[in-house]
């Protein structure tokens, strides 16, 4: 047994887009414990509900995260709509689903680029982000924004996508699908990539469940839940099954996210073929009174929105439990026993979003 050494990792590190700190306890080159420290970007956004009324807070929810921005707005709106028993138009449900799945594609491509960058495969990083740009272009053409869209609103959505644009989205996705297949081959078959991911950071199915892992982190270990199966938005009318892998290593987590890109493309195609004509928003009158928990599947996994309203335009409480918050304990588990040089890849394989986590 070697001497124990504590190595501080982060909050600033080339592999971290956002700050998180870990005290890594090592014996020789092996990590035996990782103690997390967060809190560098806590913004108190939940408390802002006391200053912004329930309509204005949609804009705050969208700013919790720059990657899942649309789905944060959607989660908040769905919660308020549930409290107010508001039924949004069918077309709005499909539009929300299209933007949500486009968000998943761009988030997974962003993550693939970061992973490639972490193991030093710069051309793969650039190809991943080149594909992602095409999704951002769709956002810009349909909403006017590339990061924050501000199209989701309580009662529906603010903007429609006409049939010509829907056809164009399908064409872009068909082309993107072919290109994504090409880069997927490198992520899944290249020996140098597999060397960095195969068998690294194994999280068993029992560990994933017992540690509360969510999203691709859980599904890569064989835990089969996906909140889209709850049937919110248009998902109740779409055919899909959660993407599952069983090895629980970094390779399995990569594989799940890559397959989810193709699944999202399929879901968007289904939406384009099924979307009905009609209104995109219902008028909301009065103030919410009551409480509700909403769960939906973001790119990183299950997010929980809770709102408590008192009949005035200012809510008593909004609470957001983000997927990265839930995945930190599972990440710490994967770090135990790993080689020190694998730490950056293992942190990345939970696809951490610290802005979400700290809110």
């Amino acid at each position: 047994m070697g001497n124990k050494t504590v190595i501080p990792f982060g909050p600033q590190h080339p592999v971290l887009p956002e700050p998180i700190h870990l005290d890594l306890v090592l014996e020789d080159e092996t990590v035996i414990e990782a103690i997390p420290s967060i809190g560098y970007i806590h913004r108190g956004l939940e408390r802002l509900i006391e200053k912004k009324d329930f309509q204005q807070y949609t804009f705050v929810a969208e700013r919790i995260c720059g990657i899942c921005s649309f789905m944060h707005g959607m989660g908040y709106c769905m919660t308020i709509e549930s409290i107010m028993n508001a039924q949004i138009p069918e077309r709005a449900k499909y539009l929300r689903t299209i933007w949500a799945e486009l968000s998943r594609i761009h988030s997974h491509l962003l993550w693939m680029g970061l992973l490639a960058d972490a193991f030093g495969f710069e051309s793969l990083f650039m190809h991943s982000w080149r594909l992602r740009e095409q999704i951002l272009d769709i956002f810009e053409q349909t909403t006017g924004g590339r990061v924050i869209f501000s199209v989701c609103d309580i009662g529906g959505v603010k903007k429609d996508i006409d049939s010509e644009m829907l056809k164009k989205i399908e064409e872009v996705l068909t082309k993107l699908e072919e290109e994504a297949k090409e880069i997927s081959k490198v992520f899944l078959n290249d020996s140098s990539v597999k060397h960095r991911t195969k068998g690294i950071g194994v999280l068993s199915k029992i560990e994933a469940y017992d540690l509360g892992a969510v999203g691709p982190m859980a599904r890569a270990s064989g835990v089969p839940f996906d909140m889209r199966k709850l049937g919110y938005a248009a998902y109740e009318n779409l055919k899909f099954e959660p993407i599952i892998e069983t090895d629980g290593d970094s390779y399995a987590r990569t594989s799940v996210r890559i397959k989810e890109i193709f699944q999202s493309i399929d879901l968007i195609r289904q939406c384009i073929h099924l979307i009905p004509d009609g209104e995109i928003k219902v008028k909301i009158t009065g103030n919410p009174n009551g409480e509700h928990f909403t769960r939906l599947e973001q790119p990183r996994g299950e997010v929980v929105y809770y709102a408590k309203a008192n009949g005035t335009k200012f809510l008593d409480r909004v609470r957001v439990r983000t997927p990265t918050f839930a995945n930190i304990p599972a990440m710490l588990q994967t770090l135990k026993g790993c080689d020190f040089s694998d730490v950056p890849i293992l942190i990345l394989t939970i696809d951490p979003c610290i802005s979400c986590t700290e809110r």
Binding site: Y40, G212, L230, F293, R295, E302, D316, R319, R321, P329
Partner: protein, 116 residues
Amino acid sequence: MEQQSIIEISPNDLLAETSKLKNEGYRLVAITCTSKPSTELSYSFDKEYEFISLRMQLKDDDKIESISSFYPYSFLYENEIKELFGVIINNISLDFNNHLYKISEQTPFKQKKEEV
């Protein structure tokens, strides 16, 4: 719409009720604290998309036990609630002693006396 049930419990029953859910295979989904009109804690669990919350009302001097002996990953939720709302939670498996977040104000989410 997803079916949700909220079960009211007393703080003294928290560990027993949590233990029961753990043995039945429920996953801890979130712990939520509200401070208006009074301090209220909701422990939310899921099993095969069934969503249950244990709900308890707390008085100012109430102390509660951590559930990290059943759900080790509850430590993040409990540290957050302790630090932001000032709820006293004993025996958290990894206790950051009010230094989870880098904040300048103590218990910023706690309902101040003048706000009541």
